[in-house]
């Protein structure tokens, strides 16, 4: 089992930039750093838990699918890194997760409802449904220059 090193982090005026190898041993560090920023921005514990699981699912998908070792991907010559730009913009937290792995047809992917999967005791396929359930906006883009980016937004509740 690989021993995780530190996730590279850079403080930005509006948030945080993180970079880590596309390996599952880095997931806990990534989730913790994003959760810490969400706490500073003013989200409550339940919202932080939702942001944490959405980030965990998004990064897991990069490792499991975009950088799957049994697939070819267009940018194979590069290191399989995950990059996150997490920033606070007025009343919302914006999280952009970037990879240079296999692109994914996010718009056309509509997995069965979580309830249906649970009824069948299906062990997989919950990740994207969880992201869509807990984040207010989710967009995916891909191009040859910048790779694949999943942009997720969570709004602060108005008090």
């Amino acid at each position: 089992m690989e021993t995780p090193q530190q996730v590279q982090r850079r403080e930005l005026p509006d948030g945080l930039f993180l970079e880590a190898p596309g390996h599952e041993s880095y997931l806990a560090q990534i989730r913790t750093l994003v959760a810490d920023l969400a706490r500073k921005v003013g989200f409550d514990n339940q919202e932080i838990a939702q942001i944490e699981i959405a980030v965990g699912e998004a990064c897991s998908n990069v490792i499991k699918h975009a950088y799957a070792i049994d697939k070819e991907w267009s940018w194979r010559q590069r290191d399989p890194q995950i990059r996150l730009h997490v920033r606070s913009e007025n009343d919302r937290l914006v999280i952009e997760i970037n990879d240079h792995g296999q692109r994914f047809d996010f718009g056309s992917y509509h997995p069965a409802e979580i309830d249906h999967r649970l009824r069948d005791m299906n062990p997989g396929g919950y990740g994207i449904a969880i992201i869509r359930r807990f984040m207010d906006e989710v967009q995916y883009s891909s191009n040859d220059q910048t790779g694949n980016t999943l942009r997720m937004v969570k709004y602060l509740k108005k008090s």
């Binding site: 041993s25 997931l27 806990a28 838990a49 649970l118 919950y126």
Partner: protein, 116 residues
């Protein structure tokens, strides 16, 4: 941030597995292999004590579904105990509490096996 750790205990025929840390894509294979070993030895009544669980993602939840299904096929089951509130709310919102029974006390979790 804690490493994922598993401690084992038992109450008669019921195995109690205490989970510490994060149950995610990185750690869930360890839980799977522990429970599969129990099932192979015919021990299919399992309580997962989640008091020290920090996080569970879809890989962990999916593993719990698969393990509960296996246990039920062997006339056993899995119960969740002492889920931290933030994790309970997440899995309740997602609907997982409809297929995985959750208890607040070890006594209640143990008693649920006797009534089945």
């Amino acid at each position: 941030m804690k490493d994922f750790q598993i401690e084992k205990d038992s109450r008669g025929p019921v195995q109690i597995i205490r989970l510490n840390g994060s149950l995610d894509m990185y750690s869930f294979p360890r839980l799977e292999s522990q429970l599969n070993a129990l099932f192979r030895s015919g021990q299919c009544l399992v309580i997962l004590d989640c008091h020290n669980l920090d996080y569970i993602g879809s890989a962990g939840l999916g593993a719990l579904i698969a393990l509960a299904k296996q246990a039920r096929e062997l006339n056993g089951d899995i119960r969740l105990l002492n889920l931290p509130e933030r994790i309970y709310k997440i899995i309740e919102l997602l609907g997982f509490t409809k297929v995985l029974q959750v208890f607040d006390t070890e006594e209640a979790a143990l008693a649920s096996f006797q009534t089945n």
